[in-house]
């Protein structure tokens, strides 16, 4: 569980750190490391799936308070994404390539849900190009982060003999 907490906290603060050094209107390097941490921590919840959902909700809640000031927006989105990760992981084994694939899917769905929620709240006009840009700008750096972190967590879990779902 300490590894799970470490991954979540590390991803959370790394996203804040990276945001400080990346240009505002970047087309390639928008970080969503906090979201990716949900993909990375899932294999460590071998028995208690509801704990995983609780962690996702709390992480989203803290993300909301710190970065967005909109309560429950990301808390609920992270919960939905956690359900999705849980569902997808039934069909895929836990390896680097599947983690990359799931990370990509998660980012696409997160961006779509987020965008349509904002349109529903009449805070944005619907421009398909904006949605596509937001997805493409988030994919590269987050997929690379997922890959590197997966390798690191895999190494640590093998060293410490921590059980994982395969």
């Amino acid at each position: 569980m300490s590894l799970v907490l470490f991954t979540m906290i590390f991803s959370f603060f790394l996203e804040a750190l990276v945001s400080n050094f990346i240009p505002m209107n970047t087309d390639l390097f928008v970080p969503c490391f906090t979201l990716i941490s949900l993909v990375l921590i899932y294999p460590f919840f071998t028995k208690e799936n509801y704990s995983y959902l609780k962690y996702a909700f709390i992480l989203g809640f803290f993300y909301d308070i710190t970065f967005t000031n909109v309560l429950f927006l990301n808390a609920c989105l992270f919960l939905v994404i956690a359900y999705l990760i849980r569902a997808i992981n039934i069909w895929f084994s836990n390896n680097a390539f599947n983690v990359i694939f799931i990370s990509g899917v998660v980012i696409v769905i997160y961006r779509i849900l987020n965008y349509f929620l904002l349109i529903f709240m009449t805070l944005k006009k619907f421009v398909l190009l904006d949605l596509v840009n937001s997805i493409t700008s988030s994919l590269l750096i987050n997929v690379i982060y997922a890959f590197i972190m997966y390798l690191l967590l895999d190494f640590i879990s093998k060293k410490r003999k921590i059980l994982k779902i395969d």
Partner: protein, 283 residues
């Protein structure tokens, strides 16, 4: 058995719908721009941002050292340019004092208690930027305890950058003008050879990196490089804050109004220190 299953299915659908409605209502309430942060939110936000500040500080220090070493090139050239500006400064200060005296005399004569450009200044450092979300925001290290409140204008030396969107005890979030927000409209004036043309800043064109000003009649002539500033109307942004300069003038689809592209001198990718403006007459 079949009827029980059907009933159970209906209940589940009802519960899910109810949960979705409650969640959407909650989000709709909390997403309102006029919402103030609650006390627990302020405490959590301040704590997390304090830890974030500690984490980011070493990297920022290294980044500043790298910037410093690159700026040390062409030092003599910069010195010469700055010396010229300093030499002209005394003239500018004298002119400013003269103008201030004129304004004070006029205010006294007309018995004006306030004007649209009376401001107080508060400097702050940027401690966080958020680009993962849809709104381009930055977080500064001044909050309620420093006298910051919502909707205060935030500027840098080159012009206006945004306004305070939420405030906690020790930090504030600034929503930048580059945010694509349908509610982000500012009353502006374009200095057209001494005469002012009034318009509305309606958005930001990410592709051309320019602000869009609309609501200007087709008959009005506007020159390129005219200065665009805030009018002070609308009670949010004080008057006279630079937005940028006119870059391009086009007409709308119906040829009834002009659309003006305004380029700002502010580098929105590199904002480290900002100034928060407060009108002297605001509460």
């Amino acid at each position: 058995m079949y009827h029980k299953k059907k009933k159970k299915g209906k209940y589940i659908v009802l519960v899910v719908l109810l949960v979705v409605v409650i969640v959407l209502t909650g989000i709709a309430i909390t997403i309102r721009p006029t919402r103030d942060l609650t006390a627990p939110e302020k405490v959590i936000k301040d704590t997390v941002l304090f830890i974030n500040k500690i984490v980011v500080s070493p990297f920022r220090f290294i980044g500043d050292m790298i910037n410093e070493s690159s700026e040390k090139k062409d030092l003599y050239k910069k010195y010469v340019e700055l010396k010229k500006k300093v030499d002209n400064m005394s003239l500018t200060i004298a002119r400013k004092e003269e103008l201030e005296k004129m304004v004070n005399d006029l205010e006294e004569t007309l018995k004006l208690n306030q004007n649209l450009s009376d401001n107080m200044y508060l400097n702050a450092s940027v401690i966080n930027r958020d680009i993962g979300y849809w709104y381009n925001t930055i977080t500064i290290d001044k909050g309620l305890k420093n006298g910051v409140s919502k909707d205060m204008a935030v500027i840098v030396p080159n012009g206006l950058i945004g306004k305070i969107s939420s405030v906690s005890n020790y930090n504030s979030t600034v929503k930048l003008l580059t945010t694509e927000d349908v509610n982000n409209k500012i009353s502006v004036k374009i200095n057209n050879d001494g005469k002012y043309v009034y318009g509305l800043l309606t958005g930001y064109d990410k592709k051309n990196e320019a602000f869009i000003v609309e609501g200007i009649s087709e008959n009005t002539s506007i020159k390129k490089d005219s200065l665009v500033t805030t009018t002070g109307l609308g009670d949010i942004f004080p008057s006279g804050i630079i937005i940028g300069k006119v870059n391009k003038i086009t007409t709308d689809n119906f040829d009834l109004a002009k659309i003006v592209e305004v380029k700002s001198d502010v580098d929105f990718n590199d904002i480290t220190v900002v100034t928060v403006l407060k009108r002297k007459d605001s509460k």
